[in-house]
Symmetry: C2
Subunit: 335 residues, 2 copies
């Protein structure tokens, strides 16, 4: 029993069967139901057979990840790998260090692995245009903003979300607000979130103070609890007047909380800590981390949907902006 | 400049150059130094060229992971992917659910992707022997014990480590000790760790009480903070006399801590929580989690060393047992 037999039995094309199997939105619901009924009746195993639809040894999608141990990305990798597999592809995983260029790495992968597509998860916002042009396969930037909108990307509005987070702290009466960020030398998430922070301060007529900004440049990965710990330790030593710190990831926020506690202060009584991402860890921490929650599942889902649509239907690049949501927990107090 | 030119210039075989590039232990140090000097002088780029040594489109190693979002595994995946890549291979990532059979999944992958080798990370201890025999490529079970020693594996002594953890709690005066574990219906890490717990109780002449045992069977992954939270909540409700809970992973321990706190009790004052793994998160939690620390880097390193040795030098299967280390932090108190 092959996918061709299914298509004959249903009187539809093979690619329609494939769309039904892959839960592709672009299919008539009645057709889909009919196909799924035939499949059930025949005992046909969709996953394996969908894979055989395509050339088996060159049916790979690369997942190029900057920040592989970030729990936000662990969740997304699980979802994306699942979806990719269910659509008949295998996932080639590559992580890149904070100073490595993900596009050069992808160029080599495309050549040596006959990739069908690439997901860039995390990393910089702007890339060498010539390098990007030579990739030759569809790709999607995930959790990465895209100012020029020529390439597919899925991300939240980082500037807006950071503005919301900072404004929330200001509305709670904070004036001396630190920020722990990264990647300021290039257009990046860190730089956009710093802009959101600045925008909120400026709107509230609070003077921007460089002493309150810590940029992480250490380690094989930037978003780690260890970096949050070290950064917060330095911030509160150099600027003991801080009453709140906005960390641009929950992992950094958890590290920051620990540093504040080790300095003998309590959270949120003595200092408020605001996170970003909405990872599970933040919800079990003592105190629970108040955060800007990213729609992790939707980001991962949409990334793969767009990539598959480009690979299988030659769809045009697509830009999707999602909304982060402020989740009030226990780590921020009004002053 | 190819790897063949390097081998000619050094008067050694191509595979010797490959061993030097891959930091393989089985090479004369002087020969290695000579090769590396030639490489430096010629400006030859080892990583890319080492990859071309092998057939480019069939040079993949699969990483089949049970529990992909466990931070213990995120770290190991990063290290293993790095080592695999540096040795000239790409990593195909596949996660499997707690109820899926990793060996059947690997069988399909071997056929469709012409794999050179497989790492099984996490999962069950015993597998369908016929299925394992048909894999046809080298494989290593990582963080998985191996009673029969016919297949390569790298793991700590789980029974011994759980015994040490439980004995530590007993030595601190605890008598009513709960355990949160998983996978008891099959030979597994959870079952071995429960045996270690029972051994310590029995040695101290403490009656084993089924009411104190919680087996996790929920969710798309077992080792989650959410499961630790739910499990500890039920344990302390059904057995309020518990003064300590041994969680067989730090992720479960963090969830358990949150449940204890939400019940109005404090850690370690009212109840002690003991973890397992030694993940970074445990060190930033409030309180820091007392744990049995696994040698994460060494486990990952050795897994890939053994696999490469089997792939490249037809080495025999190897069994490596490492030691977990008791790390006293803040979540356990003497009673």
């Amino acid at each position: 029993m092959t996918i061709k037999d299914i298509s004959k039995a249903c009187g539809v094309s093979v690619s329609t069967v494939s769309r039904a199997l892959n839960n592709h939105p672009d299919i008539n619901p009645e057709t889909k139901q009919k196909i799924m009924e035939v499949i059930e009746n025949t005992g046909f195993v969709p996953n394996d057979s969908a894979r055989y639809l395509k050339r088996t040894d060159a049916n790979n999608i690369a997942l190029v990840v900057k920040g592989i141990t970030n729990p936000l990305f662990s969740q997304m990798i699980r979802i994306m790998e699942d979806k990719t597999h269910n659509a008949g592809y295998e996932t080639i995983l590559r992580h890149v260090g904070p100073m490595e260029d993900e596009v050069s790495i992808a160029q080599v992968l495309v050549k040596s692995r006959k990739l069908k597509g690439i997901v860039f998860l995390g990393g910089a916002f702007t890339h060498d245009e010539n390098a990007v042009k030579t990739l030759g396969v569809p790709f999607v930037f995930s959790t990465i903003g895209n100012r020029e909108r020529r390439y597919s990307n899925v991300a939240i509005d980082d500037l807006e979300a950071a503005y919301t987070a900072t404004k929330y702290l200001i509305d709670k009466g904070h004036r001396n607000i630190g920020i722990i960020t990264e990647g300021l030398s290039v257009p990046s998430i860190g730089e956009l979130r710093l802009s959101g922070y600045k925008k909120a301060l400026s709107e509230a007529k609070i003077q921007y103070n460089e002493k309150y900004v810590y940029e992480i440049t250490e380690g094989i990965e930037h978003y780690t609890m260890g970096n949050g710990y070290a950064a917060a330790g330095k911030l509160i030593k150099n600027a003991p007047e801080l009453t709140a710190i906005f960390c641009i990831s929950d992992v950094l926020a958890i590290g920051a909380c620990r540093a504040v506690r080790d300095s003998g202060r309590k959270i949120p009584r003595d200092i408020s800590i605001m996170g970003f991402d909405g990872i599970e860890e933040g919800d079990y921490f003592l105190p629970r981390i108040t955060t800007m929650s990213q729609p992790t599942e939707k980001l991962a889902d949409e990334t793969i949907n767009i990539l598959l649509d480009m690979i299988e239907n030659e769809a045009e690049p697509k830009n999707v902006v999602m909304k982060a949501e402020l989740i009030e927990k226990e780590s921020v107090l009004a002053v």
